[in-house]
Symmetry: C2
Subunit: 99 residues, 2 copies
């Protein structure tokens, strides 16, 4: 028995809903990362870039990935998330310096 095929409009509405959930999760992640940045600054660690920590996250995600995206695609998406997170930590640092 095959499922009745859903319309493109219906499928797109689901994609839009998932986009909103992704944005919510990304924002939550951004707030946690900002706290990490703040803690690092307080500990006198001005360098926020931590390639070993990024590699660890990518390895875990590649291990958990069951598709349909390839490991390379998952990696590319998360690298963009890491980049945005690093920019966020560094811009918060500058704000603290200016206070």
């Amino acid at each position: 028995m095959t499922q009745p095929q859903r319309s493109i409009e219906d499928l797109r509405a689901e994609v839009d809903q998932i986009n909103r959930e992704l944005l919510g999760l990304l924002s939550r992640r951004g707030h946690v990362v900002a706290q990490i940045g703040h803690a690092k600054t307080q500990e006198g660690r001005p360098n926020h870039y931590d390639p070993a920590r990024e590699d660890k996250q990518l390895k875990e995600l590649e291990g958990l990935n069951q598709g349909p995206f390839t490991g390379a695609a998952v990696k590319a998406i998360f690298k963009e998330i890491f980049k945005a997170s690093l920019d966020l930590e560094e811009s918060n640092d500058k704000k603290q310096l200016l206070v």
Copy 2:
């Protein structure tokens, strides 16, 4: 009253948990996008790239974004998600041609 500061280790555990949730949502999105690609192929629409649809999604997300990421950062992350999704639709198409 300020909240007690959480350790970097504790904050990183939360980031790891959010990463896993993001991966789960991305995979769900990938499966829905693959169905859209399949429907397009059946309708005889070989060109899966739809810049107007991508723009619509980006505009909605930029409108909903409440930070801490900038609109530009959210856009860059979602553009990477769109790229992976397009690759997925197109590679599925090739598989169908080979059957």
